[in-house]
């Protein structure tokens, strides 16, 4: 097992940041750690990496206890931090070389690894640039290169796409998938559910310092009652009988948003026909109809009663 965390408790005074947090990460997987801001994702990562003191619990990495001076374990870990952690006085190449040099002492090996990292994040044309000259997206790519240049077996990425443009975000996500294909085990923390859905083979949802649900994307969505979202565009919604729709069987909720009718229904039922019949009876004309599967936000909403982005 790559990571095994048991009963981790971390307090800041009266505030419990991690409340008997448990986590298991298997070799070769991409674990998405999803949760709203302040749910304890970064605290959990910092404890796992032995940066933060914790009050209780055990942390094993590669089946060995993780301690601040477990250099043999640290050698195989790469971290991409939430904030860009580079030296403004060093060029792109020098930054990557410096952080790679903290792991790899052989100059020739390091030269090769740095070149590969620059190539991997697509910063070849910017290797002599100073960080201040880079855009936000390029800076994030540099941040990633500094964390992975030494080609670690375990890579932890803590919200690496915050404040990044869509193009750079896609680039970063594709890069992470590529690293995983090359054999790295990955922990990816984010509060963007779409990103986690896109790259994670398994997802852990966090709230208030503990994991409240864990499984594959499909497994998580099966945990909740909500089966699909039916969206109907109403051409003459004036006389809509919302209470009548809510009273239909297998309907969880119906909500009108201007000309849109958004209905959440239970899983595995043929719910569309009774809804259409009901609207036909009320002589309401329908423009477009489309259906969506539930999102991770629905999972979070159903478990905690609040939105993931709250």
């Amino acid at each position: 097992m790559v990571i095994n965390v048991k009963n981790l408790v971390k307090r800041y005074g009266d505030l419990i940041a991690l409340d008997h947090f448990n986590l298991e990460v298997q070799e070769g997987e991409v674990l998405g750690l999803l949760g709203p801001n302040g749910s304890g994702k970064t605290t959990a990562i910092n404890c796992i990496l032995s940066l933060l003191k914790y009050d209780k619990g055990t942390i094993d990495i590669f089946d060995q206890p993780m301690t601040p001076d477990a250099y043999h374990l640290k050698r195989d870990i790469g971290i991409v931090m939430q904030n860009v952690a580079v030296f403004n006085e060093l060029t792109v190449y020098e930054n990557i070389d410096y952080f790679c040099g903290l792991y790899i002492s052989d100059k020739q090996t390091r030269k090769k690894l740095v070149a590969e990292a620059i190539d991997f994040v697509g910063l070849n044309d910017f290797s002599k640039f100073y960080p201040k000259k880079l855009s936000g997206g390029l800076l994030r790519r540099l941040n990633i290169a500094c964390g992975i240049a030494h080609q670690p077996k375990l890579i932890i990425l803590d919200e690496p796409t915050v404040a990044v443009d869509p193009q750079s975000r896609n680039n970063i996500l594709e890069g992470i998938q590529k690293l995983n294909q090359q054999g790295a085990t990955i922990i990816y923390t984010s509060h963007y559910m779409e990103e986690v859905e896109q790259i994670a083979s398994r997802i852990a949802i966090m709230d208030k310092g503990k994991i409240i649900a864990m499984g594959t994307n499909e497994e998580l969505k099966k945990m909740i009652k909500s089966g699909e979202h039916i969206n109907l565009e109403l051409l003459n919604p004036g006389d809509l009988d919302l209470a009548g729709i809510n009273a239909l069987p297998h309907i969880i909720s119906a909500e009108r948003r201007d000309h849109q009718l958004v209905i959440k229904s239970e899983r595995g039922k043929n719910n569309l026909i009774p809804i259409l019949d009901h609207l036909k009876d009320q002589q309401i004309a329908i423009g477009k109809i489309y259906s969506e599967p539930p999102t991770l936000n629905d999972v979070f909403l159903e478990i905690t009663g609040k939105e993931l982005r709250d």
């Binding site: 800041y12 940066l51 933060l52 003191k53 640290k74 952690a85 006085e89 060093l90 040099g101």
Partner: protein, 375 residues
Amino acid sequence: MFLFNYRYRLKCILRDRELMFWTLMFPILLATLFNLAFSNITSAEEFVKVKVAVVENEDLDANPAFSEALDDTTDIFEVTYTTRANADELLTNNQIDGYIVFDPDLNLVVNRSGLNQTIIRGFLDDFLQSSATIVTVITKNSTALDQGILAGITNRTEYLRAVSASNSNPDPVVNYFYALIAMTCLYGGFLGVKEVVAIQADLSDVGARINLAPTNKLSVLISSMLAATTVQLVELLILLAFVIGVLGISFGDQLGYVALTCVVGSLTGVTFGACVGVIVKKGEGLKTGILIGSTMTMCFLAGMMFADMKYIIATKIPILGYLNPANLITDSFYALYYYNTHTQFFTNILLLCGFTILFSAITYFVLRRQKYASL
């Protein structure tokens, strides 16, 4: 790892333009301003010769002894021989302080009273007194001339002699420059703060990244501090070369000991900054503010803004002088320049070493923890 980190830290420090300005360019600028300000003070104190005119006429020709006596006063008087009319005009235009005329007796004409007029008057009184003495002696003893008695009349014997108690003559200006060097040493604290912030996970993101790497933190700390001290020392030597070579300020001839003071002073400054960096838990701005405030206070007490302050502290609260690194650095240069022995110098150097060890120990004990309570 040690040299790898050392090399990169040197690059980081040298490329930090703001830091290089405050630790190198600012002291050079300040030294230049000091020199401009103090050179005017010294020039104001220089003796300016008294301008005096002597009216050429037959009576003057009849008193060759007077002209001879005046020829011996070239260090005091700038003499112009002219006509009476011209002398009057020069006096009216304040181009001379007074003029001397035989009419037929010796007269001094001035248009105001002051130091220069008193000097001319003093010379004339002395001449008249000596002349009268010679006349009296010859009148009473006609053989006096042959006996050589008259030769001693114009001789003046000083019964007091000025003996310098130090290697060099007292110069109040040099202390300002010594305090400036002390300030530069303590400005090495900026470098100390930078290095500590760079390796502390709770102070910077790069610090967190370094803490996650499989490297010995103490080794990284020592090589970083060494890089900071190297830069600080080179900056200090550039400043010294400028102050001695360009501005002409004397640091005596014991350059080996001057260099030793610079090395110890740099170490004290860098470790002082590191200590402030680890003790103050707030942002880098506050750390820098505290560093500047404490450095300037120490330099003030060492006499950088008011030279007598050093003396006041030494006489009223001597313990404060020994607890002030800036004063110890200033005093080391002072001792090398003035004193014949090295007792005071080595006392200062030992105290500075003590401060360096104290600051280093505090820094180490705060930094040695490997996990943080919060980030």
